[in-house]
Assembly symmetry: C2
Homo-oligomer: 220 residues x 2
């Protein structure tokens, strides 16, 4: 069973200070942490697990799963052989740095190269809250529609990379990739955009190459 941390709302102060401490701790341990943000059901967990499989033998992945309730995602990660911690926010709509600090204490950081921090499913609230990550990745899935960058600009504006997931069903849900990209480019002309399917593997290699490059860039 994965370790589950339940956290109330009251104990947080100075989020950015704690985020800074997390960042130093991760840097010292040589861990590149990635804050993964998306709507509920965008396929964050599937993407993380497929990425870890694709990186197998090259980079060692770990997972922090943020959810309001339940440990279903951390159990999936553990079954896939990854070090995983579940954070239950007890109603809070996003992770905070103190929650990540607690989770880091439960993980074998010396055995992790990439740490995926799966935020609570929410395309709004996590955007402004630093955890201590080096990279912020926004995932949005084709069935959510091509208007997401227009409607949720804050999350996309702050992203270091954007992933369009579930591309294998793009045709069934009449997803217009060009319109999506046009909206995204109004917010950021340079952010890398990956179109992929965690299920079929389509587009995964570009995404994985980018992650390996980021790992080299941020040292360790």
């Amino acid at each position: 069973m994965p370790k589950t941390i339940s956290v109330g709302r009251s104990i947080f102060a100075n989020n950015d200070e704690v985020a800074g401490e997390n960042r130093r701790r991760l840097d010292t341990a040589g861990v590149l942490a990635i804050n993964v943000m998306a709507s509920p059901g965008a396929g964050k967990t599937s993407l993380i697990l497929a990425t870890a499989r694709a990186l197998s033998g090259r980079l060692r992945c770990g997972v922090v799963e943020g959810d309001i309730a339940g440990d279903i995602d951390a159990r999936l990660a553990e079954e896939a052989g990854l070090p995983a911690v579940q954070i239950n926010t007890g109603g809070a709509c996003h992770l905070r740095a103190a929650m990540l600090a607690e989770a880091l204490g439960e993980l074998p950081l010396g055995q992790i190269d990439l740490l995926f921090i799966e935020n609570v499913g929410n395309l709004v609230c996590p955007a402004g809250v630093l955890l201590g990550e080096r990279l912020r990745v926004v995932v949005s899935s084709t069935p959510e529609g091509h208007d997401k960058p227009l409607k949720y600009p804050a999350a996309f504006r702050q992203a270091d990379a954007v992933v369009i997931s579930k591309c294998e069903i793009a045709d069934y849900v009449t997803f217009d990739s060009g319109t999506y990209e046009a909206y995204l480019r109004q917010l950021s002309s340079v952010v890398p955009l990956f179109r992929l399917s965690a299920r079929t593997g389509e587009g995964m290699s570009e995404w994985v190459l980018w992650l390996e490059e980021q790992r080299r860039r941020h040292g360790a």
Copy 2:
């Protein structure tokens, strides 16, 4: 062009008091208001527009569209011939009663039987915030997965009805309807559950009948 209201965060106090005033105002006008809550891209707008079409000639529908930015949804509603107001929350993750109060002033309430209030796409934060609605409906789409009631219990627990949308692609996204319902029944043994597709019309008639029944129950 639909009317757009932009609202900052600072002007709200006593949300529940304003919600009570909204409710009295809606009751007096004979309007049944429905707060529609869902993840980004769950198909709230498509459901509302398909419902208004199905009710055409029987009940007159109006729409309040809540979004962080953009007026794309209100324009769609206006193009469909519905009275519509767009609220831009300017970053706020859910509607508040004062935002609805402003929107009500822009709508021809005497010509509306059912008012759909489409909340900001967010399965977490709108759950605890009353607007003045008589009914709260949670929509979750098949591509989001069957674990949503487990992961976002607050929204589902407070719902007067739950809609599973995009059922026409359930098979492509390996959605397990039985598991979804089992999770939902742990939260509420009685809440009505509708499985439908706004695109194909499958399941719409039961949903529309329920709305008509609610309209009769709540008088006007």
